[in-house]
C-alpha cells in the first residue's frame, strides 16, 4: 500500500492534494512525469501528474480535481489510508533548458501540473513569467507556490473576483506584446491549451502543452491514449504527455475524452448514492 501522509483541500473542496509515500518513484521522478494510481481492487487506473516530489522523504505529491467516480473515491481517502497501486514515473520528462524568457500558463488544476515545470525552468536560469487563472477567486490554487517558483506571477479570474478580469490568453498576449518570449508552456483544460497555442503561434513562440488523453496502462501497450500531433498518431503516455502545442489536434482530443462519458456519469451517480447511504 502507498500511504497518504498529508492531505489538503483547495478550491472549495473540489481540488485535493495528497502527499504519498512512494520512495522509488520519488527518487526517479522528473518534472512533467506522471503516475498511475489505483485506489483498491475494483479501482480504475487513473493518471495524475506529480506536482511535487521529495526524494529525501520518499514522497510524491498529487493534486487533482474531483470530476468523477475515481477522483471522488480518491477524495474519500484520509491521512493514513493509501492507494493499493501507484505506478511510475511515467511519460517523458519536460525538456528543461536555459532559453531566456519562459512564460508558464496554467488554468484550473493544470496549475498543479505546471508547478514543477515552472520551478525547474527557473532553476535552469530562465526568466519565468507565470500566468495562472481560474473561474473565480475561491477556485484558484497554488498561488503562493507559483509566486515563489517564478520571477513574476500574473493572476486572472474569468469573473474578475481576483486579479485581472478575463482569461489567461489575454494576459499571455499582454506579456508577448511587452517583451520577447522564447518559450511558452501552457497546461490546463483542452480549449485553453488550444487557444493559447493559437496565440503563441501568431507570435512565433515555441509552445509546450501537456495532454491528458484517457489511459489504461501508461506504458505504450494499449494505444488507448492516441493523439494526433503533426498529422501523426502518437501515444500520449510514452511519446508525451508533452507535445508541441502548435501541432496538436485538440478537437480530436476533446472528442476522444468523451468516449465513456455516459458510463462515467452512471458510475459516479451510483457512487454518490452508495456513499450517501453510508
Amino acid at each position: 500500500m502507498f500511504k497518504i501522509i498529508r492531505r489538503e483541500e483547495m478550491s472549495q473542496g473540489n481540488v485535493i492534494l495528497n502527499e504519498i509515500e512512494a520512495p522509488k518513484i520519488a527518487a526517479k521522478a522528473k518534472p512533467g512525469q506522471f503516475v498511475i494510481l489505483k485506489a483498491n481492487e475494483e479501482g480504475e487506473r487513473i493518471p495524475l501528474t506529480m506536482a511535487d516530489t521529495d526524494p529525501a522523504k520518499g514522497t510524491i505529491t498529487i493534486i487533482y480535481m474531483v470530476v468523477g467516480k475515481s477522483t471522488a473515491l480518491f477524495k474519500s481517502l484520509k491521512v493514513g489510508d493509501g492507494f493499493q497501486d501507484v505506478i511510475g514515473p511515467l511519460g517523458k520528462p519536460t525538456h528543461i533548458e536555459k532559453v531566456g524568457t519562459v512564460v508558464c500558463v496554467g488554468g484550473g488544476t493544470g496549475v498543479a501540473v505546471l508547478y514543477p515545470i515552472t520551478r525547474a525552468m527557473k532553476q535552469a536560469g530562465n526568466r519565468v513569467v507565470a500566468i495562472i487563472g481560474s473561474r473565480s477567486k475561491d477556485l484558484l490554487i497554488m498561488e503562493d507556490m507559483m509566486r515563489a517558483a517564478s520571477d513574476e506571477l500574473i493572476v486572472c479570474t474569468d469573473d474578475g473576483s481576483y486579479g485581472h478580469h478575463g482569461f489567461v490568453t489575454d494576459q499571455l498576449k499582454v506579456v508577448m506584446e511587452r517583451e520577447k518570449v522564447d518559450q511558452a508552456v501552457c497546461i490546463g483544460p483542452v480549449p485553453m491549451m488550444k487557444f493559447c497555442s493559437k496565440l503563441t503561434k501568431e507570435y512565433d513562440v515555441p509552445t509546450l502543452v501537456s495532454l491528458n488523453p484517457i489511459m489504461v496502462d501508461g506504458t505504450g501497450m494499449c494505444g488507448g491514449c492516441r493523439v494526433t500531433v503533426g498529422g501523426q498518431t502518437k501515444f500520449g503516455c510514452v511519446d508525451g504527455p508533452e507535445f508541441d502545442g502548435h501541432q496538436v489536434d485538440y478537437d480530436e482530443l476533446m472528442m476522444r475524452l468523451q468516449a465513456y462519458c455516459e458510463d462515467e456519469k452512471r458510475c459516479y451517480e451510483r457512487f454518490r448514492t452508495l456513499h450517501a447511504a453510508g
Binding site: 505506478i87 514515473p89 511515467l90 489504461v216 496502462d217 505504450g220 468523451q258
Partner: protein
Amino acid sequence: MTEKEKKKKAARTPMPEQAPEVRRRNFLEVPTGYTEEMAVAEAQRCLQCKNPGCVKGCPVNVDIPGFIKLIAERNFTEAIRHIWSTNSLPAVCGRVCPQENQCEGLCVLGKKGDPVAIGNLERFAADWEREHGTGALPPKQPSTGKRVAVVGSGPSGLTVAGDLIAKGHDVTVFEAFHKAGGVLVYGIPEFRLPKAIVANEVNFLERLGVKVECNAVVGRTVSLDELFEEGYDAIYLGVGAGLPRFMNIPGENLIGILSANEYLTRANLMKAYKFPEVDTPIPHGKNVVVLGAGNVAMDSARTAMRLGADSVRIVYRRSRAEMPARAAEIHHAEEEGIEFFLLTTPTRYLGNEKGRLTGMECLKMELGEPDASGRRRPVPIDGSEFQIECDLCIVAVGSGANPLLTSSTEGLKLNKWGYIIADEETGKTTKKGVWAGGDIVTGAATVILAMGAGRKAADSIHKYLTFGW
C-alpha cells in the same frame, strides 16, 4: 481384436462444455473439465509408443506417454509431478497450447482417427492437483546467495523464476502491471483461462520463495544498470511483445476503435465486464467488427459477444485455411454465432459528427502468388468496395516490440523490428549478465515457446551463477 486395435477404435473422450447458446453470454470457462472416469478412459487410448511422435511435437518435450500411463493407473499425484519436471504451468498449457500443431498433431492415433486428447489430460492432472492435492512443495536446493531479477511475469518470466528458485537462487520478479501473469492475466479471457488458475500458479512460486514486485516498470521505475547496482547477479527479460499494431487507415482515431490489447486489458485485467461494480468502463458494441483471425482476434470477438453484442464479425484478409488461431477456438467462436468475413480487408473507417464509429469500408480480396511466408498473398479485387455497419471495432492484427525498456537500456542489441537479439540455445543477450526470451525475442508466439525459452535461459543463468559468463 487385439488390445492395440481396440484402442485404435476407441473414440476420443470429448470434454464437456457449456452449451453455445448459454456460454456466449457468460464469462465462465467453456470446457468444464474431465471427470476421473473420463480421464482414465482417455488415458487408456494411448498406445504407449516406444518412439512417441507426440513428445517430439511438444516444444518442451513433456514425457507424454509417461504421465498418461500414470493417469490410466489412477496415480494422479505422480502424474502431475511427472509433468512438472518439464512443464511448470500445465494447467495453463493444457488449456491454451495449439495442440493440433504440436503434441496431438504428431500423435500416431491421429493418422487414421482422433489423436489422444493430450491437452485435456494435462489439464486434468493439473486441476486434480489444485483441487485435491497435498499442496506439498517440491524440494529446493540450499541457498546459493546469488540474486536474479526477472523482468516481466508472463509465462517465460514465471518459468525462469520457478527453475531458479528451485536451484537455490534468490529470485525477484518485476512486473509493470499491478497484477502478475502477463498475457495470461491481461490478454487471455476468463472463459478460456480462469484467472484463479494463474493466481494459483503465481502463489505457488511465492510459496517457494519467489518475490513478486508489481507496479515496477523496469526502464522507468528502475533501470537494468540500477538493478545490477542493487546487487542482482543476473537479469532475465521476459517483457513480451506489448506494442499494439494498427491498420493505419483513415479514421482510426474515431471513438469505438480499440486495439485488442486495450479491449482485452479492460475486460480481463480490469474486469470491466463487471462495470459499474468495478470502475473501469468498456465499450459495449451492438455491431462489432474484429480485424484479424488469430487467438487474439477470437478472444476479442467472443468477449464482445459476451458483452451483449447483436452481431460480431471477424474480418480477415486471407482465407480460412490461413487463420492462425487454435482450431478449438475457431470452432468455439463459430458455435457462439461469430461470423467470418474472409478475404476481406478494411480500407477506411466511417464516423458521425460526434467522432463515433458508424461503419467501415472494405475491399474483397483474392489469393494470388505465394508470399515470403509461403502463404498465397491476398490481392484486392478492383471495384469490390462494400460497407459494414459497426459501432465497435477491435484491431487484432498483431503486435510488435514495446521499446519502453529496450530503448532506455544501453548495450542491448535489437534486430530491425526492435526485438532483442538473444542466443537461441542460451538466451544470452549482447549485454553481460542479461538474458532474454519469449515474445520479446521471437515476436508474438505461444505460451509454451515462451516457457521453453525461459527454461533454456534458466539453465544458462544457473551455469553462469555457478561458473561465470
